[in-house]
């Protein structure tokens, strides 16, 4: 690990002024620093900031402080009762030890688990812009089938962020100059394009202070994660779904997907195709056709295309059971 200066922020405004890389749970950043994939000159410890509360908002939603741990969030009675897919997504991710450390803000900013990003002897446009992408034509079993570019085919690893996207969550931030803003999770992430090193809309020194959830969305909540082993593995494909049926027809559908792209994926055309229709396997196939119309495998990950179809159909069948 390269040497770095350490500073501890005592309030949110000071955190921005200290001008360094923010560290909270550190479970991803320190891992990458050990490998010298990340080499910050200065770390700003934000763990003492008062961002650990989950509070009710005026519109009946919840504001989750950026430092609420993944464990505390998954176990919160309000989340378990009204936002079940978020609790499920969190519990499907990582291990007990990691969830006790990982925070809500940090989870959103997880870096990809692409093996070439981690291996500094290999080219990687995300780690070293302009060096090339070794995953294209390389070992790419876990890589993207949607939204990839000729420069990067990495996927976003988070489960939580997939649920947040299905829920229509909003990220609250404070910029380095002290001003604040909010960014919908729908607009928060970027596709790799020509700049895979830029993963979100956050600017330098901008700190996530909270993630806001809308008021509870009625319907069946599901988070289905398909992975190489039954626990403690990243998603090959995951589907977060909120589906409400009324009178035998789908009245509302919110769907987001993990493991498919550089960001938690959402395609409103898929949701629109379902609304007002009676659930059937033919309908779910049609939804999968829309989702996967532009899907492209890279060789080793070709299996993800049929896997995404089957997972989506299974989730929709389960969520509309008895409708």
């Amino acid at each position: 690990m390269r040497p770095f200066e350490y500073a501890r922020a005592s309030d949110v405004t000071e955190a921005g002024k200290l001008a360094g890389r923010f560290i909270a749970g550190g479970t991803n950043l320190l891992d990458l620093m050990k490998l010298e994939v990340e080499t910050p000159d200065k770390l700003v410890d934000i763990t003492r900031l008062p961002l650990r509360d989950i509070e009710t908002t005026d519109d009946g939603g919840l504001r989750i402080g950026a430092l609420v741990t993944n464990s505390d969030l998954a176990a919160d009675p309000r989340i378990r009762k009204d936002y079940e897919l978020l609790s499920r997504a969190l519990l499907a991710g990582a291990s007990g030890q990691l969830r006790n450390k990982a925070t809500t803000g940090g989870n959103l900013l997880q870096r990809t688990r692409c093996g070439y990003f981690y291996e500094t002897s290999q080219p990687c446009n995300k780690r070293e812009p302009g060096s090339g992408c070794a995953a294209i034509g390389g070992f790419n079993r876990i890589h993207a089938i949607l939204g990839a570019s000729k420069n990067c085919i990495a996927t976003h690893p988070s489960d939580m962020a997939v649920a947040m996207r299905a829920l229509g969550a909003v990220v609250e931030t404070q910029k380095a100059d002290g001003s604040t803003r909010e960014i919908a999770v729908d607009d928060f992430y970027r596709l790799p394009g020509d700049t895979p090193q830029i993963e979100s809309e956050l600017q330098e020194g901008e700190l996530i202070t909270a993630v806001r959830l809308p008021k509870p969305i009625a319907g069946v909540h599901r988070y289905r994660k398909v992975r190489d082993r039954a626990s403690y593995a990243f998603a090959l494909v995951s589907v977060a779904a909120i589906v409400r049926t009324d009178g035998g027809k789908i009245a509302e559908a919110r769907l987001a997907f993990g493991g498919l792209a550089h960001m938690p994926w959402r395609d409103e055309a898929v949701e629109k195709a379902l609304i007002g229709e009676a659930p059937s396997m033919a309908l779910f196939d049609k939804a999968a056709d829309i989702l996967l119309a532009e899907a492209r495998g890279q060789g080793e990950n070709d299996f993800k295309i049929p896997l995404a179809r089957r997972t989506l159909k299974a989730v929709l069948a389960d969520a509309t059971k008895g409708a």
Partner: protein, 169 residues
């Protein structure tokens, strides 16, 4: 800086890069916690921080000033074993023993999570009460790898320690 390990405060002068694990092992002599992967994947380094289990290899010592840190040495001692340690002995919950301190600290932390009614990925219903079936134990302990694969006996040990701890609680 100061670190409070197993109830006692220690003064250290360390590089900012030092992980909590290395601070305990290399600077303070608490060598019970083991370094397996050093990347948060194996769980051999598990410690409790303010009662919650974490991977001590993936956190900086300097970030833990003021925290209550518990290592395996603070869970029990040879002359006064914790019920979890006794259960691992009784059920032969190990072969080489390298992952064992992490398994035991993790299991103690995990029982605290169940006591606080935290759900898990294996729970049928996230709004219901946490129960400790063997499927639940396997899911909740998935952050601790045993390369000797002593898992069946580890699960038995945790089940029996959990029952014993409930009796005496």
């Amino acid at each position: 800086m100061k670190l409070k390990i197993n109830g006692i405060e220690h003064e250290l002068d360390i590089d900012t890069r030092t992980s909590l694990l290395d601070a305990c092992r290399d600077h303070l002599g608490f060598t019970g916690s083991k370094k397996g992967c050093d990347h948060g994947q194996c769980g051999a380094c598990t410690m409790l921080v303010n009662g919650r289990r974490i991977n001590s290899c993936l956190t900086l010592a300097v970030m833990h000033e003021g925290d209550e840190i518990t290592t395996i040495e603070g869970i029990g001692q040879p002359d006064k074993l914790h019920p979890m340690q006794e259960a691992f002995l009784h059920h032969d919950g190990f072969q080489c023993g390298y992952c064992t301190p992490g398994q035991i600290v993790s299991a103690v932390g995990m029982l605290g999570e169940v006591k606080d009614n935290w759900p898990s990925h294996a729970s049928d219903n996230v709004t219901g009460d946490a129960n400790l079936s063997s499927d639940e134990i396997r899911e909740r302990m998935s952050g601790n790898i045993c390369r000797c694969s002593a898992y069946p006996n580890i699960v038995d040990a945790i089940e029996s320690a959990s029952a014993k701890m409930k009796e005496t609680a």
